[in-house]
Amino acid sequence: MFRHKLIVSSVLLALGLPSAAEAATNADLQQIHHEIEQLRQNYESRIAALESRLKLAESEARQAGAKADKAAGQAEAASAIASAPPPSHSGGDNISAFNPGVSLILSGLYSNHSQDPAAYQITGFHLPADVLGAARPQRGFSLTESELGIYANIDPLFYGGLNFSIHPDNTVSTEEAFIQTTSLPHGLTVKAGRFYSGIGYLNEQHAHTWDFADAPLAYQAFLGGQFNNDGVQVRWLAPTDTYLEVGAELGRGANYPGTGRDKNGSGASALFAHAGGDIGISNSWRAGLSVLTTSPQDRTWDDVNLANAAVTNRFSGNSKLWIADGVWKWSPNGNTYYTNFKLQGEYLRRTEDGTLVSAATPGSYASTQSGWYLQGIYQFAPYWRAGVRTERLDSGSVDYGINNATLLRPDYAPTRQSVMVDFNASEFSRIRLQLAQDKSRQGASDNQLFLQYQMALGAHGAHQY
């Protein structure tokens, strides 16, 4: 008993309750037992909680380890690959990072003509003096149009660019300067500024991508070579697997067949539709129909009347040009690199009506004229192509009204036959030899020889179909 008391006292002492030691009773002892029990339970539950947390942590660690192993395995597989981390596409540090694509076209020509180009004309087709001057060939060595093009995406919504043409006489003209949407939905694209009209097939392409050194006669007669316009263009590409595109343009119409003007609204409108697709894997095609409407005011050209006297004619009225175009391309399995063939043709038909003032005599004017060309280009080996072009204009019907009494209405069909061969050391350079017999002018057959280079340096331009 004494010993019991001593022990309890010691415990009590140890628990820091010395003053209560002697007063310890059974009730007290029970109270103490209870408290100790509570403490024990308390610690046990906390230990259990700690233990469970430990277990959880352990299992998590195991899982993480397994994951790490797996990841390491994958990483190993990946790095066995040849490959360290994917490339950091850098190069964005310097200020030139956002510079647009710049491309320069260099072009030069040697030409030989059996006729004096000074008297050049397309008999029966009346071109204003400046248009005729630009179409008139030069003999000997000359620079042909060299072009400087600068193009880039402007932001996520717009693309834009500029194309300067440097002419042999040291003048510069702006062939194109436009902005274009890239992110309109539903196949819509809007272009604004100065651009080559979407009419026909060749018109929209830059001259350096043409397959002959010069524009077809019909393009020279009806479009002054190539028609560009200041205005707006909307195109819509149909959601079909067969290519189907329609487009409309409104513009200033300052260039031939239109004339310079100063008034509100538009002076030229164009509508065009293109369809195209593949036939098997070796053939592809595109066909189109376009109409260009202009309203020239005082379009002026020099003519010679029946009395063989020089006169000046001025036409005001409406001009409507229809173009049907088609191109078919073939290459074995669609692999254009070794051999390919391209057949291309366009038919142009123009109707004009209005008034014509000939040497101060006003009268009515109505004409319907047409022309076409057909050409085939065969790449018979890598780098080498040969081509043939045949073309013909029909001076059609021209009614000068009262001036029929004084003006010439020649019944003549201008024709030209051309052959060419070119060497393309890469997609950036071309050297071409072209021979032609040009019967644009009645009674003067001009035998022509052209030797030409066209080279592109700078940004890699993507070309239209």
Partner: protein, 301 residues
Amino acid sequence: MRTAVRFILASVLTLAALPAFAALNIFACEPEWGALAQELGGDKVSVYNATNALQDVHHIQAKPSLLARARNADMMVCTGSQLEIGWLPILLQQAGNPRIQQGKPGYFEAAHYVRLLEIPSSTDRSLGDVHPGGNPHIQTDPRNIAQVADALAKRLAQVDPANTAYYQARYQAFMPRWQAAIARWEKEAAPLKGVSIVVQHKGFPYLENWLGLIEVASLEPKPGVEPTAAHLEEVLSLLQHKPAKMVIRAAYSDDRPSLWLAQHAKIPAVKLPSTVGGTERAKDLFGLYDDTVQRLLGALK
């Protein structure tokens, strides 16, 4: 007349309503990406291959058919590294399709997800057709396909979030099969390690890197420049003291230069599929490497 109008109206409406139920339209610039998109996309995608294995990928035109398909594409899957520079920009500009413009999720360039080889230190066109970003013919190493698959599966889910789980599941199913196949090809191709080869076009650095092949010469004097008689003679004399076991070319390349060398150097000429569809056995991605490895091994015997 009225019936005709009704019929046309009904057809137009049906056409207009179709895309809402249709699969994700994928425009694949090259067949290997078409095949991969099909593997990962299953029946949730409809794949259009813009080019085939018999076409020289450097010389593709922006054909009307491609423009029409680009117009309707939800996603473009291309190689990048300027491989498509001659034609893809035209499609992007003229398609009137904001989904596939650069920077959008619908514009995917595989070359972004692998380490490119042969990055030129200078870009000058006197060096031939070099790609400033590096050699774009990445599809000749199946490990690159694995890396692109990972990125493409994620991208598919981003473009078409409703089917995320589906694409993930297909990716999870594809990868073990692909890794196992790589292991098998590597085992089979072990004898090719250290083997010297001649290539017609520098289109195989990734294949060489994968299998340990050693390229001793190229039949093209410069990348993208046709083999010339003089250069072929040079290669032939080089082989006198640096012998090669075979000369390889892609399915779309002219066979004459490599056949000439094969005949004169008395080594086999090997046509490789280069991509899906390049040979009869290269029907899909697995077949592509099955056939590639088998053809190389066949030439070694």
